[in-house]
Every structure is written in structure tokens, then in C-alpha cells.
Amino acid sequence: MGVITDNLGLYADGLLGTLEICGLVAVAALLLGIFLAGFRVSPVPPLRAVGTVYVTLVRNCPLTIVLFVFAFGLPEVGINGAYITFGVAGLTVYTAAFVCEAVRSGIGAVDAGQAEAARAIGLTFSQSLRLVVLPQALWAVLPPLGSVAIAMIKNSAILGAFGVGGELYSVANTLNSARGEPALPVYTGVVIGYLIIIIPAGLLLLMMEKRLKATR
């Protein structure tokens, strides 16, 4: 296990890199996902169709292919960017579909009487969604969003396999493939790194679920 302690700095940098990528993706995917969820419950048929098609396509497509399309498809039509940008964008587009479904189910969990009351006092669709339903949906939506976030953190490892440097997974590549360090400790270190993020996140999620059950 000397490899891990000798390269603690490298692992720490990787951990930070992963957190940085995940932070960016979390914010962007949350915004895009909420937007899409709004589309999916809207009274305007074309918008609903956009939401449905987006979710169906993206959820059924492997993240790897989404990433390849971004990094090697977009440049074909003259859209260029840094590799990390494409990676973050691809992961965002992918995650947003799952955020959308989580938010939609959250909207569904709000008591129907709430929306009815909002309409009764004359609020429009967007007002009742913004002022009455979504704030309440927020609580119901937190646990499924938490699961999406954890899945997203794990998916970010694919970016590393894809060639985006500076995150946790790429540390294994540097140490094992490029420097020839033994595989077992190198990969164990990476696994520990992910567990450092995932396990507290999972516990947080569990606590949220418990509290939610209690308030109901």
C-alpha cells in the first residue's frame, strides 16, 4: 500500500478534481433538468414533446456515447472546446434527463389539493408551479435527486477513462499504466477515494429520507 501513501498528493488532487467536475455538473444539470421538467408538465404540447423525447433519448443512450458525440461529433460541425468542457457538458446533458424525471416525480408527489387551491385563488400555471407546487416538491424531490447526484459522481469516473485528466480515475491511469506501479494498491486507492465521497453522500441521503418520513 506504499503506492497510496507515496502518492497521497496525487490522489488528493484527483479527489478535488472529481469534486470540481461534479460541482459544475450538479449545478448545470439541476438547472437544465428543472427546465425540462417544466416542459414535461406544461400545457403546451410541443414543449411536452420536447421534454419527453429528450428524456427518452438520453436515458436510453449510454453515457459513453453521449461523451463521444460531444468530444468527437461536435468538432465535426465546427464546435470546438477543451476536452474537459466537452466532458462536463456531456455529463450534464446526460444527468439532466434523470434530474428531470426526479423533479417530475416530486411534482407528482405534491398533494393535488395544493395545486387546486392555487388555481382557486386565480394563480396561472407558471405562478402555481413556481409559488405553490415547486417549493413543496423540493422536499419530496430531495431523496431522488440525491440518488441522481450519487450516480452522477460515479459516472464522472467515465470522464477519466475517456481521457479527461486531473480527476480521481485518471490517477490510476497515471500510476498504473504510465509509471508501472502495481495495479492492486493503485486501484484500491482510487476506490477509497470514491468511497470518501460516496459514503457520506449516501448517509446524508439516508438522513434526509428519514427526516422526510418523520415530517409526513
Binding site: 408538465v41 458525440v69 475517456f162
Partner: protein, 273 residues
């Protein structure tokens, strides 16, 4: 809750407004699509030689290309089916251990489950690919993917099965006890079949996850669908067109599997009603 709760059944004015909004939205969509098409056209993406090897049976490369893709699809499905089967077997074993084992043993199982659940699948696959051979386990590439996928999915499936077993009404196991069945028999003949049936939709949905994750195999040069696509691209230089076809194949298969889950779910709840 259905949509109609969020807004009244629209009156004449509301209908008019929705119509206007629909037309506006449709126009914007058509506009965006037109921009995309123009972008593709100005970058030469509609050139015949980029499409015809994929779609024109008379193209010289068409047979070779589809033989490659077909074989790739077969490798994808093989990996997915093997991983799903192994995950099911292991998942049931883990679930039963977790429910019936003694306390300390159970904690050990929970620990392993939690660790495996936290490991990204891509890392599980690379772990198998890089670590196993150094200990003398030299396997065909397929198996590293299957092992990596199974490590994660057996744990997920065990949670699904466990939830199913816990959801079986208590009267069932009481009745089984009254009949003189042992604990093991109760699990095997009474609880597990019912849990399995009620969780069938969730299990089918997990197959979509597995199918998608097989494409990680492309990173260890297992020639599944995506890797075969990359081989095609390095000769034909048509990434957009090839990704389109590969993505379409994945979406179609996964969509059908997803529909199957919904269908099974509907049939089950119809029978319950």
C-alpha cells in the same frame, strides 16, 4: 397526479393561448432544427460517402460495415445477458444472506454491499481488467466486463429482491410456518417467488442499466458495439453518422426493454386489483 391538476381544463381563451404558444414553440423548434441542419450541411455532413456505407446496401463497404456492427451488437448482448444472469444469481444469494444470516455475518455482508455500491462501474471493470491478471486470472476480455458489471449490479439486484421479500405480507410466512415449512423452505418456496414476481419490472429496468454500461467495454478494447463503431470511424471518417446509428441501436433496444418493464408492471397490478 396528472397534469390537469396544475391548470384548469382550458376555456376558449386558454385554448387560444395554448394554440399560440404551441405555434410559437413549434416555430422555434423548426428554426433550431433548420439551424442544426444548416450547420451540418456547411460542414459537409450530408456528403454521400459519409452516409452510404451505413445505409446504402449497394455501397462496397456496406456488407463489411454491418458485419462489424452486427458482431459488435452480439458482443454487447452477450456481455449484458451474462452480467444480468450472474447478477441475478448472486443478488438472490446476497439478499437471502442479508435477511437470514446471524448478526455479525450480516454486518459483514452489509459492509461489502455498501462498498460495492459506491464503486463506479468503470472502475470495477478496470479493476478486474488490471488486477485479476496479475494474480494469474487471465480471462477473455468479455469476462472482465462481466465481472465488473456483476460486482455492481448483483448488489443493486440484491437490494431490489430484499425490498420485494420484505414487502410480502406477513401472513404469507405465518401461513408457511403453520404448514410446517422451515425458514429456508419458506424463503425459497413462498417469499422469493413472490418477491421475484413483484420486483420483475424493477429487475427488467436494471437490464437497461447493464446494457448501457457494457459500452464501457470499449475502453478496454472489448469489441462491443461502440468499439466497432470507432473502428469504422477510423477508416470512413464519419463520426457523427456512425455515432447516430450506434446510439439509435442502443436507444431502440433499451426503449423496448423499458416498455417491457412497464407492460409487466401493468399486468401485475391488473392481476392484483
Amino acid at each position: 397526479m396528472n397534469r390537469s391538476v396544475l391548470y384548469d381544463a382550458p376555456g376558449p381563451r386558454g385554448r387560444r393561448r395554448i394554440l399560440v404558444a404551441s405555434v410559437a414553440a413549434a416555430l422555434i423548434l423548426v428554426g433550431l432544427a433548420a439551424l442544426a441542419v444548416r450547420r451540418l450541411a456547411t460542414n459537409g455532413q450530408f456528403a454521400g460517402e459519409k452516409w452510404s456505407p451505413l445505409f446504402d446496401p449497394n455501397d462496397v463497404n456496406f456488407p463489411d460495415l454491418w458485419r462489424l456492427l452486427g458482431g459488435g451488437l452480439l458482443h454487447t448482448l452477450t456481455a449484458a445477458v451474462l452480467a444480468m444472469s450472474l447478477s441475478l444469481v448472486l443478488g438472490v444469494l446476497i439478499a437471502m444472506t442479508r435477511i437470514s444470516a446471524s448478526r455479525w455475518y450480516r454486518w459483514a455482508v452489509v459492509g461489502v454491499v455498501e462498498i460495492l455500491r459506491g464503486v463506479p462501474v468503470v472502475i470495477a471493470i478496470f479493476f478486474a481488467y488490471q488486477v485479476l491478471p496479475t494474480y494469474g486470472f487471465r480471462l477473455p476480455l468479455l469476462w472482465y466486463i462481466v465481472i465488473g458489471l456483476t460486482a455492481y449490479n448483483s448488489v443493486v439486484i440484491s437490494e431490489i429482491i430484499r425490498a420485494g421479500i420484505l414487502a410480502v405480507p406477513r401472513g404469507q410466512s405465518d401461513a408457511a410456518a403453520a404448514l410446517g415449512l422451515t425458514r429456508g423452505q419458506t424463503q425459497r418456496f413462498i417469499l422469493l417467488p413472490q418477491a421475484f414476481r413483484s420486483m420483475l419490472p424493477a429487475l427488467i429496468s436494471q437490464l437497461v442499466v447493464i446494457l448501457k454500461d457494457t459500452s464501457i467495454g470499449a475502453f478496454i478494447s472489448y469489441e462491443e458495439l461502440l468499439r466497432r463503431g470507432l473502428i469504422i470511424i477510423q477508416t470512413l471518417r464519419n463520426p457523427i453518422q456512425t455515432y447516430l446509428v450506434i446510439a439509435a441501436i442502443f436507444v431502440l433496444i433499451n426503449y423496448l426493454v423499458g416498455r417491457l418493464a412497464i407492460y409487466v408492471e401493468a399486468r401485475l397490478s391488473a392481476r392484483r386489483a
